[in-house]
């Protein structure tokens, strides 16, 4: 038994989990083409959830702050980019791919900029006064979530808002008898790019090393001469901006969004950071991929179970590893 687990560890340990899930699903589904479609859908969904969740996990790891209002950034990101895309709809429909891309880029930039500014506001005004007080932190960020949702309702109304997609991301590729939606491939690629960028920053730059060191031992980072609070504001802003970007991506994926989006995604995001292990970006990616894959496989195999699948997954993983799959070293 010990030997088996050691061998598994050498080949990637918990990182093998999505592969195993994929293999089991392949056997159960039977039809390779459906399996590929579902897997791509799961991976792209996972990547979008990763964008939303990574900031939350890092913020918690670094400062022991859990922002229950995090999903407000997701919602705002979705609605801000939807409005921007609607405003630029002329460019979106244009024949020129360059204009398409520019419109999409501007919409994402608007979501990111909003996330940065709102994240700064949230950190400095809402959360700073209640550092180290978990009870009030939970209550206040929850209050902020209520207020944010109401503001969204006041600005965009309760009716579903449709999100235009740029022409070049419409449609799907047909490879053999496998269909792959272009937008999903795009979402996967963008998520992967963000992950690689985060990975580079966290492992190859001084700021990244400081963040990882701070997640482990905040006091020691201060005793080495660094002001960790400044670092934290930065991480909070970037984390919020990533959530907003995730929301913007999700809006394009769903094409029809309602203010309930934030609340729905919040649960998924929480489950992802819990099963991934709080404070680690790799864990969050792993958790997000797992949730994305499971949602799609089970949605296909046993649609009735699909909604409870996340919860079952979380329970199972917590029983196996109470602090998540890949928690930050503490």
């Amino acid at each position: 038994m010990n030997q088996i687990s050691q061998t598994l560890e050498r080949f990637g340990g918990v990182y093998l989990l999505p592969v195993i899930v994929g293999l089991i699903a392949f056997v159960l589904i039977g039809a390779p083409s459906s399996w590929v479609t579902l897997t791509v859908a799961g991976l792209s969904m996972g990547m979008m959830i990763f964008l939303m969740a990574s900031g939350l996990s890092l913020i918690f790891g670094l400062m022991d702050v859990m922002n229950f209002g995090h999903s407000a950034f997701v919602s705002f990101g979705a609605f801000v980019s939807a409005s921007a895309l609607a405003y630029l709809s002329g460019w979106l429909g244009a024949d020129s791919v360059a204009l398409n891309i520019l419109a999409l880029f501007l919409a994402f930039a608007a979501a990111l900029a909003f996330g940065l500014v709102a994240g700064w506001f949230f950190e400095v005004v809402i959360i700073k006064p209640v550092y180290h007080d978990h009870l009030r932190q939970i209550l206040i960020t929850m209050g902020a979530l209520i207020v944010s949702e109401q503001i969204i309702l006041a600005i965009w109304g309760g009716a579903p808002v449709s999100v235009p997609r740029p022409a070049f991301l419409e449609g799907s590729w047909l490879i053999g008898d496998v269909t792959i939606e272009i937008y999903r491939a795009f979402a996967f690629a963008l998520g992967l790019a963000v992950y690689l960028a985060l990975f580079f920053v966290l492992t190859r730059t001084r700021i990244g090393l400081l963040i990882r060191a701070g997640v482990e031992n905040r006091e020691m980072v201060e005793a080495l001469g660094y002001k960790i609070n400044r670092l934290f504001v930065g991480v909070f802003m970037v984390g919020s901006a990533l959530a907003a970007l995730g929301g913007a991506m999700w809006a394009g994926y769903e094409t029809l969004i309602t203010p309930a989006l934030g609340g729905e995604m919040m649960i998924v995001v929480f489950i992802v950071v819990i099963i991934g292990g709080l404070g680690s970006v790799e864990g969050t990616l792993l958790g997000a991929i797992m949730v994305g894959l499971m949602a799609n496989y089970i949605g296909f195999l046993a649609p009735k179970l699909a909604l409870a699948s996340n919860m079952i997954l979380m329970m199972a993983i917590l029983l196996w590893r109470p602090s998540g799959l890949k928690p930050a070293v503490k």
Partner: protein, 234 residues
């Protein structure tokens, strides 16, 4: 003038008064040892000097400047390094990354790095290993190395021998003796035999008060006083 001078320092953690009146001077150069029983307030004293707990009232003077109440990062930048009891190494980071973060500019000074390799050859050997995989003694070496990778004026070291094998403790004593020649060390220790070999100046803390100050050679021969202050059985 002393390098570090504590005067009537008091520290409370929550509702508990841990330090009541801590007053002693650490002269420049050499190893100064702070002794005391378990729970006497040794660790709290070091953490209060470092600014990780806020002492109030009382003063902490470093080269004549009152640093009490300053942020830990500002105190660090004045040239004080901290080697905590749990060593405080960043387990997810490699030995190299741990040391890089301890440098002021993110670059190593070759001479100082060479000196660290000479003092602790194991660190060179495990240079690219993640710190969690090191042994207890190697983690302690890394923690001390972080404190001397930059020129510092004072190093606060909390119980470096705790849980280490005797052979490693010997090596540690030699390293501290060598570091003490160029940098002042304030060493908190329970292991009296270890402290005896290193200390020049010394103080004993008991129940949040300084109970005795003097020199180590005098204290080392006064077994009655040792018995009274430290309840040493041997």
């Amino acid at each position: 003038m002393s390098l570090l001078s504590l005067s009537q320092m008091k520290t409370s953690i929550g509702q508990y008064h841990v330090l009541h009146d801590v007053t002693f001077d650490v002269p420049e150069g050499g190893v100064f040892v702070l002794l005391g029983r378990n729970g006497a307030g040794k660790t709290t004293t070091l953490r209060s000097i470092m600014g990780l707990w806020k002492p109030s009232p009382g003063s902490v003077r470093f080269r004549g400047e009152d640093i009490a109440g300053l942020h830990a990062s500002d105190i660090a930048r004045k040239g004080i390094a901290f080697v905590p009891e749990n060593m405080g190494v960043f387990g997810g980071l490699t030995v190299e990354e741990n040391l890089v973060l301890a440098t002021a500019k993110g670059k190593f000074d070759d001479v100082r790095l060479k000196r660290i390799y000479d003092l602790f050859p194991a660190l060179e050997q495990f240079w690219t290993k993640q710190a969690w995989s090191l042994s207890g003694g190697q983690k302690q070496m890394l923690s001390v190395a972080r404190a001397i990778i930059e020129p510092r004026e004072l190093i606060l070291i909390d119980e470096p021998t705790k849980g280490l094998a005797p052979s490693i403790i010997d090596g540690m004593a030699e390293a501290f003796a060598e570091i003490g020649q160029s940098t002042t060390i304030l060493l908190v220790e329970q292991n009296f035999n270890f402290a005896k070999r290193l200390g020049q100046g010394m103080a004993v803390i008991d129940d949040g008060h300084i109970a005795h100050t003097g020199t180590m050679p005098d204290f080392a021969v006064d077994t009655a006083l040792q018995e009274q202050l430290l309840s040493l059985s041997s």
